[in-house]
């Protein structure tokens, strides 16, 4: 630049600084609005992701919305969210009632993901030689839940549509045989889902005969509770191990617990 005197240089520098401040200000305003817009769009807890999907928040970050998993699905069961679908635009999801996951043994959707939003390792175990191999039965798309109030099998009507349709019949869905106490002379054949085997494939939801499916898949975080580590199952050896790291001392302070339990028993007005 041709050098001018100080009077000429200063406004130049001041103009630059002024432009920077103005730019920063505008960017902050825009950025805050932008953040606000995305924040509301991120929480979609009810969306069923393809097999091998990493946890939802990480999935949303890593999915580049390329649709390769959708293209890989031979049954066209995976859908890509379009604007207006009320789901994060461009991300893959299932509509189980319309078109459930058929649990392909080679899991083409998970394998096709180029970014690591779907990880084949999450749906793999190792064979006898210790080599990793795909096992679609490890899939955890979600968990099937039964609404016992609308499931006609729980009314006493014989229906085993979901049980028969389940690819993991007698593991993920079993039938509980009980006496129909209402009629006194019939049997109830009630389906029961087991979370340790259910893959959330949604074939049961697809097969359900009721008007709106009485068995349906929800993401596991939404469908399951979580018991505290302090409760142990008498029939599970591994349960004792869960207790190992827990602190010995536990106290619950309530007005009543201020007194010793003996006082409470002997002096209290029971």
């Amino acid at each position: 630049m041709v050098s001018g005197d100080k009077e000429e240089k200063m406004p130049e520098r001041r103009k630059f600084l002024f432009d920077m401040v103005r730019g920063l200000g505008a960017a902050t305003v825009g950025g805050l609005a932008w953040t606000d817009m995305l924040d509301g769009k991120k929480t979609f807890a009810t969306i069923l992701r393809p097999p091998g999907a990493v946890v939802e928040q990480e999935f949303l970050a890593k999915c580049t919305k390329c649709g390769l998993c959708v293209e890989a699905c031979p049954y066209k069961a995976l859908l890509l969210a379009k604007p207006g679908d009320e789901r994060p635009v461009g991300t893959p999801y299932f509509q189980m009632r319309e078109n459930p996951c058929r649990m392909c043994r080679d899991i083409p959707c998970a394998v096709s993901c180029p970014t690591g939003a779907l990880l084949p390792s999450l749906v793999s175990d190792s064979d006898e030689q210790g080599k990793s191999r795909l096992d679609v039965n490890l899939t955890k798309i979600g968990l099937a839940l039964i609404d016992r109030e609308t499931c006609i099998a729980y009314w006493g009507i014989q229906c085993d549509a979901c049980y028969r349709a389940c690819p993991l019949i007698d593991k993920a869905v079993t039938v509980e045989y009980t006496k129909n106490e209402r009629t006194g002379k019939h049997a109830m054949l009630a389906p029961v889902v087991h979370s340790d085997h259910c893959t959330g494939c949604g074939i049961c939801e697809h097969a359900c005969v009721t008007k709106k499916a009485s068995i349906f898949v929800l993401p596991r975080e939404l469908a399951m509770g979580e018991s505290s580590d302090r409760y142990i199952r008498g029939w599970d050896d591994a349960d004792e191990e869960r207790m190992q790291g827990l602190p010995e001392e536990t106290t619950t302070r309530t007005p009543r617990s201020e007194k010793s339990p003996l006082d409470y028993l002997n002096k209290g007005d029971l």
Binding site: G31, W34, A61, T64, K65, G67, L68, L80, P83, T115
Partner: protein, 273 residues
């Protein structure tokens, strides 16, 4: 007549055939190009990844697979070292939408009313910074979530849904509000390519000796600021903001503009700041 639209025809052919290959990848299962412009696979083997999307994912504090990284590297090297910002004018489908808007501006006389509100060409770099900051704050690739480019190419390949509203908004913005408004001022992806292609080889070259100062090139150029040398010095276009669309080459009746390689020996290498 054809001479005046040579590169326009080539560009449209390039843009449309890339889109058709993606569409056939999805609908017919062809293996030439699968996925979309965010991430794709060529012949089921070579990965291609949008590097700006990847940058946003990094800003969101996440890592991606090596495959996606390699795909982004291929794109950066191809445009950064060779083809320049030609993604915008030879690949991006939104370019057809904004070109139509800007052509309509000229035809209807809207352009004669002025260029619209003052928006700095530098705004796109602020949008880059903001999209990275928002990615950091929200944990998702911020521009990818609202990008009209992604909406359009995904819409063409997988179904548009309500995405047309976003495309229409960009079209109307360019038509009524600001000439070359989106691609030339706001788009952070275009800005990103402008930054990484500063030193790419394929360039428009200007010859001062042939120039008659008719200014057809400046008239037609969507990034006029990249042509400060016209009529003054013979040199290559230095700015990464040039999209290598070739419109200036087409409209120059004196052949004073042509495509060339930046460091070709016979060229006058006078640099322009």
């Amino acid at each position: 007549m054809f001479r005046e639209y040579k590169f326009m025809v080539l560009r449209r052919t390039s843009q449309i055939s890339i889109m058709l290959l993606f569409v056939s990848g999805n609908l017919l299962g062809w293996h030439v190009l699968r996925g979309n412009l965010s991430t794709s696979k060529v012949l089921d083997s070579v990965p291609l990844t949008d590097p700006f999307t990847l940058l946003q994912i990094f800003a969101a504090k996440h890592l991606v697979s090596g495959q996606a990284l390699a795909g982004a590297l291929i794109i950066v090297l191809f445009f950064g070292l060779i083809a320049g910002r030609s993604f915008c004018s030879w690949v991006c489908p939104l370019n057809m939408v904004t070109d139509l808007a800007n052509w309509l501006r000229k035809k209807t006389g809207l352009d004669a009313l002025g260029k619209g509100p003052v928006i700095s060409r530098k705004t796109r770099y602020w949008v880059i910074g903001t999209s990275l900051a928002v990615s950091l704050a929200t944990g998702v690739a911020a521009f990818e979530w609202i990008s009209p480019i992604s909406m359009l190419h995904r819409g063409i390949i997988f179904g548009m849904g309500m995405g047309w509203t976003m495309i229409l908004a960009v079209f109307l913005f360019d038509l009524f509000v600001k000439r070359d408004g989106f691609c030339g001022h706001l788009c952070p992806l275009g800005g990103f390519y402008a930054l990484i292609t500063r030193f790419s080889l394929v360039r428009v070259m200007h010859s001062k000796e042939k120039c008659t100062l008719c200014m057809n090139c400046l008239e037609i150029c969507p990034e006029q600021q990249v042509l400060p040398m016209v009529g003054k010095v013979s040199s290559a276009v230095a700015s990464g903001e040039c999209t290598n669309c070739g419109r200036c080459v087409e409209v120059c009746n004196e052949n004073a503009m042509k495509f060339g390689i930046r460091f070709s020996p016979e060229k006058n290498k006078t640099s322009i700041a």
